[in-house]
């Protein structure tokens, strides 16, 4: 499916945040924005959120569900779950290494 979110420039971090938000079930844009703010402390601007959503959807990592009450929920696909897991494992490896080095410095 082409390149991983890591190469999406300013959309790479929002992409991981969005996929993490969708990991426990479908959400629409507003719910995602609030969820990301609560678990990551990051307030995504609407255009950044939808720029990342469009990239994730066109690459099949998330899928739009039919509109409910004028809002469209998004679902993490199986492929998206795999990509998210790989990204989070890489981030964990970086975090563990960084923390260990800080502790021993």
């Amino acid at each position: 499916m082409g390149e991983a979110p890591g190469s999406w420039g300013r959309f790479s971090d929002p992409a991981v945040l969005i996929m993490s938000s969708l990991a426990d079930g479908p959400k629409h844009g507003y719910a995602m924005s609030k969820d990301i703010e609560s678990f990551a402390g990051v307030s995504l601007q609407p255009a950044t959120l939808y720029g990342a959503l469009a990239r994730l959807e066109t690459r099949g990592l998330i899928e739009a569900l039919p509109t409910q009450e004028r809002r469209r929920p998004y679902l993490l696909t199986t492929q998206g779950a795999g990509v998210l897991e790989a990204q989070l494992r890489a981030l964990r490896s970086v975090a563990v290494t960084g923390l260990r080095r800080l502790a021993t410095a």
Partner: protein
């Protein structure tokens, strides 16, 4: 921020959203505006919108066009396969009607290859029905859910068309079965039978058109459309298999019992070869259409993988 400045900022935000390319706005515009309505319009937000519009124009335009094209094509694959399957059923029912005479069952007992050919053709028809149901039910459930949620009278009317058309055909069938409109093969009887065929064909055509319009105007998930494309490919394969088995059955009847093959067992006591030729042409058109749609659908699925 005063009301005047706020409304000016909102107008600027709205103008920036209009800078996005049309496919992007068609797909995400209403969702973005919904989110903007809940956010205070600040300079960083306006800057984010301007950068987003530029990014959409530079990077996302072609991707979105491709994505929209895929869903349109998958819808078309589902609709075309359903229409082809209905035509295939018509052709199959013509063969079934012309072979309802007990002589055909006796020929089947005498020649196991003939019985096997018929059984395989019926099995393939059953498989195609299963594929149409498996792929079509989630599609129509999605269409019905949306029509109900939106309280859209025209969408609900479209959904009512197939059951109403089916009920009319059923009522006409029961009526014709109970009321003898004239002696068998009399002019009145023949006209009544031809009228029933025309009514059934019209009901099927109207139902297919209603289903097509419903699917085209509904907002269906890509997952449902992909599943429908796989089901369409399965239906097309089963129909191809059924056509080959049916043609084999006809050839076996021709070679083993030429007298029966050339009998007047066709529709309205016409020569059997005429009915079977018409059914074969109908089935060939249906299978060719379904196979072409299935190949298109598989190509879209492969391109998206």
């Amino acid at each position: 921020m005063t009301a005047g400045i706020e409304s000016r900022a909102e107008r600027v935000a709205g103008a920036l959203v209009r800078l996005y390319p049309r496919p992007w706005r068609d797909r995400y515009g209403s969702e973005l505006l919904d989110l903007l309505a809940a956010a205070p319009v600040t300079p960083p937000l306006l800057l984010d919108l301007a950068r987003g519009a530029l990014d959409a124009r530079l990077h996302l335009h072609q991707l979105l066009k491709g994505s929209a094209r895929m869903t349109t094509r998958l819808r078309s694959v589902a609709i075309t396969t359903f229409a082809a399957w209905v035509l295939f059923c018509f052709a199959a029912s013509g063969v079934a009607k012309s072979t309802e005479d007990l002589t055909f069952a006796e020929v089947g007992h005498a020649h196991p290859a003939i019985a096997a050919g018929r059984l395989v053709a019926e099995f393939a028809l059953g498989l195609s029905l299963a594929a149409v149901v498996v792929g079509g039910l989630p599609l129509m459930a999605g269409v019905a859910r949306q029509a109900w949620r939106r309280r859209d009278p025209s969408a609900i009317r479209l959904l009512v068309v197939p059951p109403v058309a089916g009920a009319i055909v059923l009522a006409a069938t029961v009526l014709l079965g109970r009321i003898r409109v004239g002696p068998v093969r009399s002019t009145v009887d023949t006209v009544a039978f031809l009228g029933w065929i025309a009514l059934t064909a019209a009901a099927a055509a109207v139902s297919v058109l209603a289903v097509a319009a419903s699917v085209r105007r509904s907002d269906l998930s890509v997952g449902t459309l992909r599943a429908a494309a796989w089901a369409a490919a399965a239906a097309a394969a089963a129909m191809t298999f059924g056509l080959l088995a049916g043609a084999g059955y006809g050839l076996a009847v021709w070679t083993t019992t030429p007298a029966l093959f050339h009998s007047a067992n066709g529709i309205l006591a016409t020569p059997l070869p005429a009915t079977w030729t018409a059914a074969l042409i109908g089935a060939l058109v249906a299978v060719a259409t379904a196979d072409r749609a299935a190949l298109r659908g598989l190509a879209e699925l492969r391109a998206a993988a």
